[in-house]
Symmetry: C2
DNA sequence: CTGTATCCACTGGGATACTG
DNA sequence: CAGTATCCCAGTGGATACAG
């Protein structure tokens, strides 16, 4: 994935801009962690979201992935990274106001996913 | 990707249902084509969306991918597949009413992607 | 015409070991 | 503590050839 999530290749005739924008979004949102991390941060706006704490609280993620994904969020202006004056150093992350603009989209995905599970279950049962 | 897009492994303590639902959605929407195909079908509700025609009009997709992706959409009740009585046979696809429920989400992704491009461009320029 | 089968290059992401 | 480097495997998607 391009770290700075912008796509340059414009080719299709119909609604090229929209298609590319949609692919930008999909690309940025794809993968196991980024949306989940943003939701995590948004649910704890006041707290110090330390790397270590996130690592412990978010089940299943490795330090490598947490670091990588947070860096991508930071490069896309969705999260901030703050090095604290501790020894040894600790790092706190927070969602940006801009990052909060994806939350409604994320909630839409959650909502649709929940309904989709019901739909599939109901259809299979019948 | 699981063809029938439902996930069974519930483990996380916090909001497990929501997380899993979100991942279901992300998984289903990920990849280059599925959302684009749904939008294509939704923009041509009255027409016969023949495989051949789609193959020609959707830039860059191969027959293999078109077939595979449409099959996934069909298995998730998002699109229908109709074999026509022609010689040789032709096949028409259509979005289902259920499939249309994702369109608002897709539009949200498009909208956010468009704004993100502006944001990134503006930030880089400054 | 509408797919499926095969082959292949590329990427995402886990495990682990290591550095500042 | 926070992050990087390396290795590895599974999955995605393109090209091509083939089948019903």
């Amino acid at each position: 994935m391009a770290t700075i999530n912008i796509r340059g290749d414009i080719r299709e005739a119909t609604c090229a801009e929209e298609l590319i924008a949609m692919r930008d979004s999909i690309e940025l949102f794809s993968g196991k962690w980024k949306l989940q991390l943003l939701r995590y941060l948004s649910n704890r706006p006041a707290e110090k979201n330390l790397f270590k704490k996130m690592l412990g609280e978010i089940g299943g993620i490795s330090a490598r992935m947490l670091s990588k994904e947070l860096k991508v969020l930071e490069m896309n202006f969705l999260a901030t990274r703050t090095v604290l004056n501790t020894r040894p150093i600790t790092v706190a992350y927070a969602i940006t106001p801009y990052g909060q603009t994806i939350l409604p989209v994320a909630e839409a995905l959650v909502q649709w996913g929940l309904e989709h599970r019901e739909k599939v279950k109901a259809t299979i049962a019948s």
